[in-house]
């Protein structure tokens, strides 16, 4: 078998293997693309709280869904509410609804009733510990009975003769915010508009595409029913699923635009510059192999792929084609064409180019962002596969000389003139280059850094406003952060929550924070035993005589006496409480379970009144830590931005070292274009007031890999081939700029930042590339 046939066979087998592998992997039921943007954030193994909070933010809470029906009249609301519930309760529905009913409210009262005399509010404890508690207690009961709200409290009088229940339930605040319970619905009327609120849970993983589609279809079905029945009702809904679904569709759109756009652009460029359709299909093979290769390696290495990796894959098209372009340029312009010889001539430069490119991409792999590590693996392997196929196949497919090699391409002629001018009028062009540089340097004055995760997040504004409207109507308070509390057992966890509540809220005249403390719904056994004893310390006969004075009937007095005989009941425990179906659905997610040998719970904060005091108080205790997602992630991103800056300096130093080894004194000239390209790109970002983020810095690592390639090819080129090399570089830069420029139009901030940086960097690296010829006699 000849070398050529062997090369073709290897490439064909490789392609078949890659296609089969990708097909098998992607059609497996286990395959899924991650859309959760938090997946991209740095993995912070040392900080347990961050990981836990991330799990919370992206995991279980992603399944929560809230619906709001709004209409002008109550009857329509009632009918549409019923229709909606019926539709959502059908077996094909994507939702499990939490429907409020009288049974739920009574169920909560009944659940706590057996424990109301062994768990008290702080006020009651103070009263029972005070002077003549029997009289004070009787006075308080009398006050409650006289009150205008006694219609609510006195209905439990026979079961709760001391009226401890209402206060206790109020402490937990089971009420649904601004809403009221009306005919089995949670409703609110604002002016002439009626609102109905329903919350629920999504069946299945909200980040799965099929689950997202099912949820959207269920909502669409409901809307169709409203339309069919003539209900003039608006249905708003909010769920992390909606965000994930929106990100997924916009990324799909991006893939189509960026992948398609860069492909069309590359086809047009090749036709324009090289003038033959043959180059196109020859170029397609390394592109396809590169993308498939990158994808396959990622599927092998990572259990889950992020959708951003796939989008990035689409932009890799512009990089994979680089190596063939050099070969094509030589083929296009060589009248005496020796395919294998030309490849051998180009090989050292191409290999050095692959080395520096992979170096740049590999440096991204050292970044802390999990998603970017995938990009790195995708790019490094993609480039290697593309290079391998280019090396093996291009000499076989382009073994005959180009028919039009005697007629230079228009692009090459233009570039030849341009280069001649550059080298002839070095001072003028150096001056122009200097002016561009100075202008860009001035832009550096406007540069500012943004480490907030908001800068990396592109949540659709219409979804955010829909969510905000639902929160306004329902009175659901936005969380401003959370405190993560731990304990070695359920009991210890609850005790720690109680200590924390007392430290930050209940024992203070001016609370430091307000939030949802689980201990207000489920006390520790220690507290219950203390409270149990406190009530039994009362003088029973004195209390009874005071109650007789109020007018307590014998039936009530019997209840009071029986209360003193009640044994301690251990059943009000976290285990039982968690397993109490449906009653506490909204609250249960605040208990995280056992992680790393400790039981964890969160206290979602609805208000932080004194941040300094909060930090100080939490600083002194070891069982609780504050987690404010934005603040914490900003801090971590800031740390990583610094790390990536050092990484960037290190990568530049490595490349410079490699260049010094190869080019000796000329190394600086070869290196300078890339350095200037990065500086100018930052300057342009400054002029456009675009805040510098971690992603921009990672983009500069890409620019390093690409930019140095241009300089190397130009520096290594013989004077007779300089136009061909510069032509190839120009084509390469144009294709890269095209694909990354399109990436800059992506709806995702991360891709936008990466695309914009690489686009600007590539453009300036090409512009300053002729500098690499300095020191060579032309």
């Amino acid at each position: 078998m000849s070398n050529n046939n062997r090369a073709v066979l290897i490439c064909v087998l490789l392609l078949i293997a890659l296609v089969s592998f990708v097909f098998v992997k992607t059609s497996s039921s286990e395959f899924r693309l991650e859309t959760d943007i938090l997946f991209l954030l740095p993995a912070d193994e040392k900080n347990r709280e961050i990981s836990i909070a991330r799990k919370l933010l992206s995991g279980e809470s992603g399944g929560v869904v809230q619906f709001l029906l709004s209409t002008d009249n109550y009857i329509t609301l009632k009918e549409s509410y019923r229709a909606f519930v019926d539709q959502c309760e059908s077996p094909n529905s994507a939702f499990d609804l939490f429907l409020p009913n009288r049974n739920t409210i009574d169920g909560i009262s009944s659940y706590y009733l057996p424990f109301i005399y062994q768990w008290f509010t702080e006020d009651k404890r103070e009263l029972l510990k005070g002077i003549s508690p029997e009289s004070e207690l009787a006075r308080l009961i009398q006050k409650q009975l006289y009150s205008d709200t006694s219609m609510l409290t006195s209905r439990f009088l026979d079961r709760d003769p001391l009226l401890f229940g209402p206060d206790l339930l109020q402490q937990g605040d089971f009420s649904p915010g601004e809403l009221q319970f009306k005919e089995g619905m949670l409703v609110r009327q604002v002016d002439d508009k009626w609102f109905g609120f329903i919350s629920g849970k999504i069946k299945g993983n909200p980040y799965r595409e099929d689950v997202q589609e099912k949820a959207e279809n269920t909502v669409l079905e409901c809307l169709k029913i409203f339309q069919k029945k003539g209900y003039k009702v608006q249905l708003d809904w909010s769920s992390p699923l909606k965000y994930a679904s929106s990100i997924r569709s916009s990324i799909k759109k991006d893939v189509r635009i960026i992948g398609g756009g860069s492909m069309i652009g590359i086809v047009a460029l090749i036709l324009l510059a090289l003038g033959s359709i043959r180059y196109l299909w020859v170029a397609m093979i390394p592109i396809i192999t590169g993308v498939l290769g990158g994808f396959s390696v990622c599927l092998l290495v990572f259990p889950e792929l992020h959708v951003i990796t796939v989008v990035f894959g689409a932009s890799l098209v512009g990089v994979c084609i680089d190596y063939c372009l050099h070969y094509f340029s030589y083929h296009r312009s060589s009248e005496q064409w020796l395919a294998a010889q030309s490849m051998r001539n180009l090989l050292p430069t191409m290999l050095f180019g692959v080395f520096t490119t992979v170096l740049g991409y590999a440096a991204i792999g050292l970044s802390p962002l999990a998603g970017l590590r995938q990009l790195s693996v995708f790019a490094c392997s993609g480039v290697c596969f593309a290079f391998l196929v280019t090396y093996l196949l291009s000499p076989v497919l382009l073994n005959k000389p180009n028919r039009y090699s005697a007629v230079p391409s228009m692009l090459f002629l233009l570039l030849e003139n341009y280069l001649k001018n550059v080298f002839r009028k070095k001072i003028i062009f150096a001056f122009i280059g200097l002016i561009i540089l100075v202008m860009c340097l001035l832009g550096l004055l406007h540069i500012h850094v943004d480490d907030s995760p908001k800068a990396l997040n592109s949540l659709p504004s219409h979804l955010a406003s829909e969510e905000s409207e639902i929160n306004d109507i329902t009175g659901i308070k936005r969380e401003t952060g959370m405190i993560i509390v731990n304990g070695i057992s359920h009991e210890k966890l609850l005790q720690n929550l109680e200590r924390l509540d007392s430290l930050l809220f209940s024992a203070l005249d001016i609370p430091i924070v307000n939030g949802i403390f689980l201990n207000r719904y489920i006390p520790s056994q220690k507290t219950q035993r203390q409270d149990y004893q406190l009530l039994r310390n009362l003088n029973q006969s004195v209390l009874v005589s005071r109650l007789i004075e109020i007018g307590f009937s014998q039936k009530l007095l019997d209840s009071v006496n029986a209360m003193f005989e009640l044994p301690y009941n251990e059943n009000l425990s976290l285990d039982n409480w968690i397993n109490k179906d449906h009653l506490f659905d909204g609250l249960k997610q605040n208990y995280l379970g056992k992680l790393e040998g400790r039981h964890l719970a969160i206290v979602p904060l609805t208000k932080i009144i004194d941040q300094q005091e909060l930090d100080a108080k939490l600083g002194d205790i070891d069982y609780a830590s504050l987690y404010r997602p934005i603040r914490e992630i900003t801090r971590v991103l800031s740390q990583y931005r610094l790390s990536v800056t050092y990484l960037l300096v290190l990568a530049f130093s490595f490349v410079l070292l490699a260049l010094v080894v190869r080019y000796k004194k000329r190394a600086l000239y070869v290196f300078l274009p890339t350095l200037l390209a990065c500086v100018c790109a930052v300057g342009i970002l400054g002029w456009f007031r675009i805040p510098l983020t971690l992603i921009h810095l990672i983009g500069f690592l890409l620019v390093l890999g690409l930019g140095v390639d241009y300089s190397i090819f130009l520096a290594d080129s013989s004077p007779s081939h300089i136009t061909v090399s510069y032509g190839a570089i120009t084509l390469s830069a144009l294709t890269t700029a095209l694909s990354f420029g399109l990436l800059g139009l992506s709806s995702q901030a991360v891709l936008q930042a990466l695309g914009m940086t690489t686009f600007l960097g590539t453009l300036f690296a090409w512009l300053y590339a002729p500098l690499s010829r300095f020191g060579i006699t032309e």
């Binding site: 009288r102 006075r139 009398q142 006050k143 009975l145 006289y146 009150s147 205008d148 709200t149 006694s150 219609m151 609510l152 006195s154 209905r155 009088l157 026979d158 009420s175 649904p176 601004e178 809403l179 009221q180 319970f181 009306k182 005919e183 089995g184 609110r188 005589s545 007789i548 109020i550 007018g551 307590f552 009937s553 014998q554 039936k555 009530l556 007095l557």
Partner: protein
């Protein structure tokens, strides 16, 4: 031992007698309510004309004395309280209970605020409790003459008797009816003199309003300042 026995006898006699008296009274009142609700509800379109001459339709502040009797079936004696009732032009009702102990209550559309003599304040959001919302709407609707407000929560039943009128308010919402069976408002002049609130538990609250007189803005302001609700 003898003391204990005496106490028991005393309790038994008190309980037996008082509960029976209360039960008789309650039966009569509930019969009246049922009788009133047997009347067809007033038509929404001519509510204003039907209630003309009964409920004042202008939002003018007034002051009155009141006496409230609350009969709770599980208690051996009624809870009797008295004090002053202020209706402010801002559609707020302030009850200043002077006996048997001092407590101030401000009833507005969205909240019930209670302030005791030691300055301890308790705020209850009525939006959270349908029955309380219906209760506050009845009070404010009656005193301000806001018939639409009444009609929103209740069907209205009227009975004209010699020298007096009686209006029954039946909650439209089934859930509210589980707590509040109905309200009877009666009077002889153009303003309510008695308000009876029938609890679904069988309890009854009767409010008698006497010595009613109009108040001006400066009196309202002074009251608000004196009671220090806003602090």
């Amino acid at each position: 031992m003898i003391t204990k026995l005496k106490t028991l006898i005393l309790i038994a006699s008190l309980w037996g007698g008082a509960v029976r008296v209360n039960a008789d009274k309650l039966e009569q009142h509930y019969a009246l309510l049922n009788h009133l609700f047997a009347e067809p509800a007033l038509n929404k379109n001519n509510l204003k004309s039907e209630l003309e001459g009964i409920i004042q339709d202008n939002n003018v502040g007034f002051f009155a004395d009141y006496e409230e009797t609350k009969i709770i079936t599980l208690l051996t004696k009624p809870l009797i309280s008295s004090g002053q009732l202020w209706f402010l032009s801002s559609s707020q009702v302030i009850k200043v209970q002077l006996k048997p102990f001092v407590i101030y209550t401000k009833i507005s559309n969205n909240t019930i605020v209670q302030l005791d003599d030691l300055g301890k304040k308790e705020i209850i959001s009525v939006r959270r409790y349908g029955a309380l919302k219906a209760f506050t709407s009845a009070f404010i609707g009656l005193f301000s003459g806001d018939i639409d407000k009444l009609n929103k929560h209740y069907t209205i039943h009227k009975k004209k008797e010699p020298r007096m009128w009686r209006v029954g308010l039946k909650p439209k919402d089934k859930t509210i009816r589980e707590l509040l069976k109905g309200i009877i408002v009666s009077g002889s002049s153009r303003s309510p003199e008695t308000v009876q609130i029938f609890h679904s538990s069988g309890d009854l609250t009767s409010l008698k309003i006497t010595n009613r007189r109009s108040i001006n803005e400066s009196e309202e302001r002074k009251l608000i300042l004196d009671l220090r609700f806003e602090q």
